[in-house]
């Protein structure tokens, strides 16, 4: 079974203030602010990554258990995909 990889949608306006990223969703006409962990995920998704890759990288940088991290990353990917801010790219 192939594993999906995710990446940020090109052309989304993003900026960083201190450790937090702000995104502009033209579709919803809204700003979306990301906490430091979510901001890091956004940065990592500038290259295509699988869920497992993201979890492994985040666990190196933040003090978080694998189970919590998996759940949070999965929720984030789902939410951001629904808002069309990230998308699935070619599978590995």
């Amino acid at each position: 079974m192939s594993v999906p990889r995710y990446q940020t949608v090109p052309g989304i306006l993003a900026s960083k203030v201190e450790e937090e990223i702000i995104l502009m969703s033209m579709e919803d006409d809204a700003y979306i602010t990301l906490n430091p962990v979510a901001s890091r995920i956004w940065e990592l998704l500038e290259s295509p990554r699988t869920l497992e890759e993201l979890v492994a990288l985040l666990m190196e940088e933040f003090e978080v258990g694998e189970e919590d991290c998996q759940r949070d990353v999965r929720d984030f990917l789902e939410d951001m995909s629904n808002r069309r801010l990230i998308r699935e790219v070619e599978a590995v």
Partner: protein, 306 residues
């Protein structure tokens, strides 16, 4: 035809009539002029369907900004054409020309005025922003009495050097004060020119010695009147800083209509990343300006050297 040259907020202005607020400039350098003219024949219509007092609409490539009882401004990125309402003199229109009309012109260029008053003291350029009535001009007028120098009242335009903090260009040499505020600060409103016919706002004139050069911006205080006893300063960090600055663009209500959301996002992002921002909660009643000054000074003392 006569024309007059001015420098205002870093803009070169060539105007078809003599402006009241600014001294003529003898600096003809630079190229990005804004021309301001008055239409020869009045086409002013009064049969528009209005849903607010002043509003904006498109006519071909131009934007029309309409002020009831003042006139209509036809605005493109380099030019403002004023079409006056009957019996309106040019001086009455001047605050609108140098305020809202120029604000819209800047937006067409992807630039913005911050809705804030900037003042300079001890190497710090400090902007007080906030909604109308938050106390921007009042705070600035008080601080000027304590020896601070004015950079710009009400609207502040930024210049971005290649590195470091943005600078604020000098604005008009006056501070706009309500009559009761002027009185409370020890001025005599009778001796101060009135700025608008419809509002009781007066012009506190500022001498060239009391004006500062373009000033590097160290901090922005967002004034917030609240039901509290004493003023409090709270630093704003991260994404919240962006969110707090975004509404305080001058005439922000026009950004969407002009399709400048992207430029607005970039402007606020850049500013939020470059400048320290604080919320200055101050008592709604009994606006104790000395106490405000004290918390501002304490905050500035904690900033890195400009």
């Amino acid at each position: 035809m006569n024309y007059y040259i001015y420098t205002f907020s870093g803009l070169k202005i060539i105007c078809a009539w003599q402006l009241d607020f600014i001294e003529q400039s003898d600096d003809y350098s630079g190229e990005s002029y804004v021309s301001i003219v008055c239409s020869e024949t009045s086409n002013f219509l009064t049969d528009l369907n209005r849903n607010s007092t002043d509003f904006l609409f498109f006519e071909g490539q131009c934007v029309i900004l309409d002020f009831e009882n003042i006139g209509r401004f036809r605005i493109s990125p380099n030019c403002i054409v004023l079409d006056r309402a009957p019996n309106v003199c040019l001086h009455e229109a001047e605050p609108y020309v140098l305020g809202s009309a120029l604000g819209v012109l800047l937006m067409l260029r992807g630039d913005f005025f911050m809705h804030g008053s900037t003042i300079f003291f001890d190497n710090h350029g400090v902007m007080f922003s906030g909604h109308s009535g938050a106390g921007k001009s009042t705070t600035v007028a008080w601080l000027m009495q304590q020896g601070w120098r004015l950079v710009a009242d009400d609207v502040s335009r930024l210049h971005w050097p290649e590195s470091g903090a943005p600078l604020v260009y000098p604005g008009l040499p006056h501070v706009k004060l309500w009559e009761d505020t002027a009185t409370a600060l020890g001025h005599d409103p009778e001796k101060m020119p009135r700025l608008f016919q419809r509002w009781n706002k007066h012009k506190l004139e500022v001498s060239p010695e009391e004006m500062a050069e373009p000033a590097p911006l160290s901090a922005i205080f967002i004034l917030q009147p609240e039901d509290i006893e004493k003023p409090v300063v709270e630093p704003i960090h991260g994404a919240e800083r962006f969110l707090q600055l975004a509404p305080h663009i001058y005439r922000a209500e026009f950004i969407k209509q002009l399709g400048k959301e992207k430029e607005h996002f970039q402007f606020c992002s850049r500013l939020a990343a470059a400048v320290q921002v604080f919320r200055l909660r101050r008592p709604t009643r009994g606006f104790d300006l000395a106490a405000v000054e004290e918390v501002v000074m304490e905050t500035l003392a904690g900033l890195p050297e400009a």
